[in-house]
Symmetry: C2
Subunit: 466 residues, 2 copies
């Protein structure tokens, strides 16, 4: 018979049992923490109407959406697609909020852990099917929302064993304010941000010349760079988040106020968009100090976040040994309105399951008990005639909560023992004709080699005790 | 703004929190029972190469597979599909077994709970995205495999609260033997089975005339009907599975032996395919008596199961108040070979999550604790100034394992209480300025109306005790 393709499709992965157990462990911690914050689970279909998704993720996003052919003749003849695979969990949430608005509580706090699909070019650590772990609050503009989200994410990462993560925090309006203060014309804001994002890689002079080549005046470029360099300087000088955030807020206020407000205005509260952004950041930082997020939250005016739907605070989580982020999020007060026709405030956080798994695997962060064996005990099959007896013993052990594998064939005992050893099963039971006649079972501890006969009714207790 | 479509795509469903909790409860029971039998979790991608799926489910199946357009220009211009959505969990399992044969244990026992997609016409209770809960054993022809599968499924249903389910059991070779014994020519076996399947609906005379109209001789049709009627008579006469199965085996032996074997042969073991089938059924019934499946397993020679890949025992679960089955399965020793080029024995069972949920909902079988409230306690927000204090209290209560919702805005207290009442949250905490100054919190029991002041550090203990 001709060999056929048996690998998963390009960019897709099979998860064998050990991998599933690691994934389930992380998802279990995430769900448990989110439930403690009063978030409720939501699930949406993998397949959405194509118009629900198109136009929500920018041009690049539209290209990367997997499209499903219409059924029957029509699809074959026209090549038209009417459905598409879920691209993220935020747009489906916005659709759900619009559809069930009357049924949902005033503050809808949901978490959702499901796969999404993107037709990206597969590369190391980037897949075409991957899980997002989202948590969002719909219905409030209060900074308590941002703080609760940051605290929940901090608890998740702490419970998983991460101690060294940083939640970078910025605000879309502050970012705009800084660009305006430096004199960048609004149409060039996007270009400027993309270029500034390369500061780490190409350095200040590289960024400056690129900004100029993209149509930004040299004096403007230098002023902008000065701001981001002074922010980077503050970050380097302050290991403690509290003092960093205090200094950073002062710097932001000074930069934005000195450029856009007169001296007379400076003594009254700043109600410009950028001023509101700074006030929001200040509230978030202050309130977060009362939660587990406090020691991880660091203001970073250079954080931009790609997605265009963010309107307020933006957050991103980083750890030293991973380029790219473990997750990110922000406030998007306009997205639900695209479906509902009425603005509904919203803010959320998305953790990337695969990246968390990558770092946890590299650092060896999984609890030892998780490298788990498939069963607590293997029940050998002495002979076909003893099968009924073995199955009955298995039933009683399972009833006692043990995980029992039954060897299905009356192979040589040595082969059955070897099978248990290969699979790491810690105990093996033998019930030969003589033992059965005496109502006994031989229990072998595969680690110590210790072997003893035990009355049948005592086997479960003995095994549970070990 | 123009209203946009916000319903899920046709035949797809959103699951709001209560629905997700019910689904997670059932999946949790299924996974827990399967783990006790030594089954391990497997996950495969939603998207498969199209050639992996095509041709595995018959012509009708091929039509119902959702096909994904090739990316970029090519897809748009040609309308070609190169990928497809998973149609069941058995074919991906066969692919996985072929791909990772060397890494998998000799007996690969896996469970898999994932959605599948079929472009069926949506109707009541039939969806285009639905979950299958599969459990399979790869690598052994022993009847212990069938018995363990039936026992595991019985344990699942019993744990969920089903007492009245029946596992109907038959064997493909016995079915062929009965048709042959009656004189149906092999090319007409398929037609005959489809027609016999209507016995319940159109009665014996209806089936007889349809069989004749489909080219089966009247004497042959009558002989066949006589067999299935005598089987139905046995089933009606024996409520006890043990005596039914004993009588049914005797009837099958007599029917097949009398037609296909001489009297001289009848005293030696029957090694014909049908005889092997009867022997397998006899083994399964005998061994199952030692397990939880014993009281549910009933031989039913009329059970056919649609899928063409079955080669041995076939099973299907029914309950009185559901037309259609809760699940089914069987032995398919040829399917892995389609990928591997080498035969590997396999047998499995698939439970339909949505059907289990339908019956459980209609019967009110969910545990009362599952109609679960979103949080154990709502922490009200007295004023924006008290937010930091509230968040700090929330953190300590969550640390004690409580599920704490924090009202995000400093609304009027009466509104916050009303919110808790609407959502069914059993306790509400108030920390006003005076209480905070005294280090106290007011705890209100929403059920009794009882309200008392408690020292802040005692709140967690008080709530946990309730």
């Amino acid at each position: 018979m001709a060999a056929v393709q048996t690998q998963p499709a390009r960019g897709m992965r099979d998860f064998l049992p050990d991998a599933v157990r690691r994934r389930e462990y992380v998802i279990g911690v995430i769900a448990d923490v989110y439930r403690r914050y009063g978030f409720e689970p939501l699930e949406t279909p993998a397949v959405e109407n194509i118009e629900t998704l198109m136009g929500k993720y920018g041009e690049e996003g539209d290209r990367l959406i997997f499209k499903i052919l219409k059924r029957g003749e029509e699809g074959r003849n026209t090549g038209d697609a009417d459905l598409a695979l879920r691209y993220d969990l935020t747009v489906p949430l916005a659709r759900v909020v619009a559809e069930y608005r009357g049924k949902l509580p005033r503050f809808f706090k949901r978490y959702q852990v499901q796969p999404v699909w993107r037709a990206d070019r597969p590369q190391k650590g980037r897949f075409r099917e991957f899980y997002q772990c989202d948590v969002d609050v719909i219905g409030s503009t209060s900074p308590v929302v941002e703080v609760e989200l940051c605290a929940a994410v901090s608890d998740v990462l702490s419970r998983l064993g991460f101690g060294d993560f940083v939640i970078r925090l910025n605000h879309r309006r502050v970012l705009s304010g800084l660009l305006e203060a430096a004199g960048v014309a609004p149409p060039l804001h996007g270009t400027a941000l993309v270029t500034l994002d390369k500061l780490d890689k190409v350095g200040a002079s590289g960024v400056e010349s690129e900004l100029v080549s993209r149509g930004i005046e040299a004096t403007v470029a230098r002023r902008l760079l000065a701001t981001f360099e002074s922010a980077a300087g503050l970050a380097a000088a302050h290991a403690d988040p509290a003092s960093l955030n205090r200094e950073m807020l002062a710097m932001l206020r000074a930069t934005i106020a000195s450029d856009s407000r007169s001296a007379a205005e400076a003594s009254t509260p700043d109600v410009s968009p950028a001023g509101e952004g700074i006030a929001a950041l200040s509230d978030i930082v202050r309130l977060a100090a009362s939660t587990s997020a406090g020691s991880h939250l660091r203001l970073d005016p250079s954080l931009a976040r790609g997605l265009s739907y963010y309107t307020g605070a933006i957050m991103e989580i980083s750890v030293p040994d991973l380029s790219g982020s473990l997750g990110g999020g922000g406030r998007y007060d306009g997205l639900v309105g695209m479906f509902l026709g009425e603005q509904v405030p919203a803010c959320g956080f998305s953790l990337g399951l695969e990246r968390i798994l990558v770092v946890m695997t590299e650092r060896g962060m999984f609890p030892p008990a998780l490298t788990t064996v498939p069963a607590d005990v293997l029940l050998t099959l002495w002979s076909a005639e003893r099968a009924a007896d073995a199955l009955s013993l298995a039933a009683s052990l399972r009833g006692a909560g043990l995980r029992v594998d039954v060897y299905p064939e009356a192979d040589k005992l040595v082969k059955q023992f070897k099978y248990a050893a290969t699979r790491g099963v810690p105990f093996v039971l033998v019930m030969g004709d003589d033992e059965a006649a005496r109502g006994e079972v031989t229990v072998k501890d595969m680690k110590t080699g210790d072997q003893r006969s035990v009355a049948r009714q005592d086997v479960a207790a003995l095994l549970r005790q070990r």
